[in-house]
Amino acid sequence: MVALTPISRTPMSFYLPVVAAAGAFAGLLVGTAQDSSALGVLAGAVVMAGVAFVVTTMVDNEKLSRWGLVIALLAGGFLMGGLPGAVIGGLFGWFFGWFIFWLYEGRYRAKLAPYLTPGQVLWHFAFRVICGAIFIFLITPILVVMPLSFNAENFFTFTPEMLRFDPAGYSLKHYRDFFTNSDWQQALRNSVLIAPVATLLSVGFGTLAAIGLSQPHVPFRRAIMAILISPMIVPLIISAAGMYFFYSRIGLQGTYFGVVLAHAALGIPFVIITVTATLVGFDRSLTRAAANMGANPVTTFFRVQMPLILPGVISGALFAFITSFDEVVVVLFVGSAGQKTLPWQMFTGLREQISPTILAVATILVVVSICLLTVVELLRRRSERLRGMSPG
């Protein structure tokens, strides 16, 4: 993007307080780690304001200052916390070097429209910082467990060896445990046997229901829709308890088929909702045209309607699959020990034995989910491109 606004250096009264505030925040993080938050805030603000003052008035050589700051904070971090401290210090140094000159040279203004008021500029960046903070808040818990799954010890703990990046602190033994332990393998097998079948049922019934309910002449459409959607709205524990007693009476409790049925019931609402959404844009004259040309309703469905609502069916199927694959409450009630799924095994593992094998499984599942979603997204783009719905 080209510069929209000519930039000029900003006064000291502007960039020193901002850098000091950022320094205070960084100091809070470091200070808290050293058990003295207040001191950290003070030291961070003073040091960073001082650095900004020195490099902008005395050194005034951007490249030299930024490299100097990286090296200085890297060394400082190393003295405070060894290798991990040095990495964090180096990152802080890089950030503050960039940040000071970004403010001092007025670069922050370059890509914004010239007519924005200072308040609007502030909001522009505040908005980005807030978004970033929310993103970090959501993603950090997932990222933190990943290195822990390579722990050489049997606890959810960053050991000193791990923090020193010592290879002895890391191992693949929890992954080995997952792939060799018969409990985990049985759970994996159960999950893999249950989820696809439940998905298939949900997609079949859900798509049929959505198409039926989209016909204007069906009586009590809204009431039927509400009932079909209810498993998504009713608290899971209520559905689970209800299913438990009902399935017990008819002999389905504790059977493979019972769990599949229960999961299908949970997945159907997702399919109905996504398919109904795509049906809104579906042109009914297409089915009439197909009928006019001699196609029977089944052929019409598979040759005309299905390809057009496929994106909705696929995303519904994905939701149904994930619902079944992640589900722990209903299977605890409806299943017996023979139908122990991965989430069930993780749940009991977490409660009875806090073992990093759970983290290894979680990491594998996260990677599998990312792959799955990427593949679906690529397929979707490909089909849109083939049908000429989007350029490129």
Binding site: F155, F156, F245, I354
Partner: protein, 368 residues
């Protein structure tokens, strides 16, 4: 199964196998236990040997002992008992027995005599605390502490837990009144034999809570047995209570800088119950399994995998070395004379009578 049959069956393993298949027995068992190292010890000590003797049998574990009472009630209401044998602590066994959800049994008929010929009822002795309870192990709830966080004078007395000046830092205590109230009273100057008399009065309960109040800000409350080992390994707490087997695993197997504080350990029992109302064929299989799993040798074998004392008197001399570490297990048993210098006897009747009342007070105090 008639008693004569059982006697016959135990005379020879092959004969037993022959009889087993001759009789109407199902070949599937669902065993309920606690998961973790404890379940592994059961698996190694008697489930695997039993399955080796009876290749046609399969056993599935369900790690639901924590909510066994609730689940058995639901199963009973739904008329669909899916469990065959359930591992519970003694107090749960008493409750299940009172509610008619567990089967009453005759020890001398169901269980094998000791290898010295002592009838089962004498071999287990007082540990059969309920008509339905088949004892397996004696465990204790006790404290472990970080050796690197307590300075030069490690804690030796239970009251050190309440001493924030000598041992600053967090403590892990179980999120329920049982044990905590007793320890609080002991450290508030109440004599050991009077603890339950004092705790029966509202003033005594206030007194215990007041003592706990002195350390409340430094307590991390745990609810699963695995919590305290994790907190100790993290260095998050200086000391914490949990089951002695969990601490053994932290110290000897995971090699963490943790040591035991055996003072005023509270003994408790864990064992099997057979759910009431099992169909004939499943009951026959379970009886056959229980008889094997609770014999003298099997209970002694279990102690090779976890540091819990066997429930039979006749098993004690047979306790050997740890299966993998090769260390003598006897000094790690809660019942070892060195460890049991000062123990506290958990009073089942008291807690059966007062549990709901004191629980409510304890939870209200926690929320304050």
């Amino acid at each position: 199964m008639r008693p004569t049959r059982i006697l016959l069956a135990t005379t020879s393993l092959t004969l037993a196998a022959g009889l087993a298949s001759a009789q109407d027995m199902t070949n599937d068992m669902t065993l309920v236990s606690w998961g973790g190292a404890y379940q592994a010890s059961q698996q190694n000590a008697y489930v695997e040997p039993y399955l080796a003797m009876h290749p046609e049998v399969t056993a599935v574990w369900d790690e639901s002992s924590n909510e066994a009472v609730a689940k058995l009630r639901a199963m009973n209401e739904a008329g669909n008992i899916t469990w065959d044998l359930v591992d519970v602590v003694a107090s749960d066994a008493i409750r299940l027995c009172d509610e008619g959800l567990a089967m009453e049994y005759d020890p001398d008929e169901l269980l094998a005599p000791g290898d010295d010929g002592t009838p089962a009822s004498e071999d287990f002795g007082d540990l059969i605390v309920s008509e339905c309870f088949i004892p397996q192990i004696v465990y204790s709830t006790t404290f472990g502490y970080r050796t690197d966080l307590v300075g030069d004078t490690p804690p030796t007395k239970i009251c050190d837990v309440f001493d924030l000046d000598a041992y600053p830092g967090k403590r892990a205590l179980e999120k329920r009144p049982i044990n905590n109230m007793e320890w609080a009273l002991l450290c508030d100057g109440v004599a050991k034999e009077e603890v339950y008399d004092v705790l029966a009065t509202p003033e005594g309960q206030e007194k215990a809570l007041a003592k706990l109040d002195t350390i409340k800000d430094s307590v991390i409350w745990w609810s699963a047995g695995a919590d305290t080992p994790q907190l100790l390994a993290d260095g998050e707490v200086v000391m914490g209570s949990t089951y002695n087997g969990r601490l053994f695993s932290v110290i000897e197997e995971q090699k963490q800088p943790v040591a035991m504080l055996w003072d005023a350990q509270v003994f408790d029992l864990d064992g099997w119950i057979i759910p009431a109302g099992l169909p004939e064929d499943r009951l026959a299989r379970v009886k056959d399994f229980v008889r094997f799993a609770t014999d003298t040798q099997r209970l002694a074998d279990q102690a090779k995998f976890i540091s819990y004392g066997p429930g039979r008197a006749s098993s004690a001399p047979l306790v050997g070395q740890h299966a993998e570490l090769g260390i003598e297990m006897a000094p790690h048993m809660p019942t070892d004379p060195n460890n049991a210098q000062n123990t506290f006897l958990y009073n089942y009747e008291f807690w059966a009578d007062y549990r709901d009342d004191i629980d409510a007070k304890f939870q209200a105090w926690l929320a304050k």
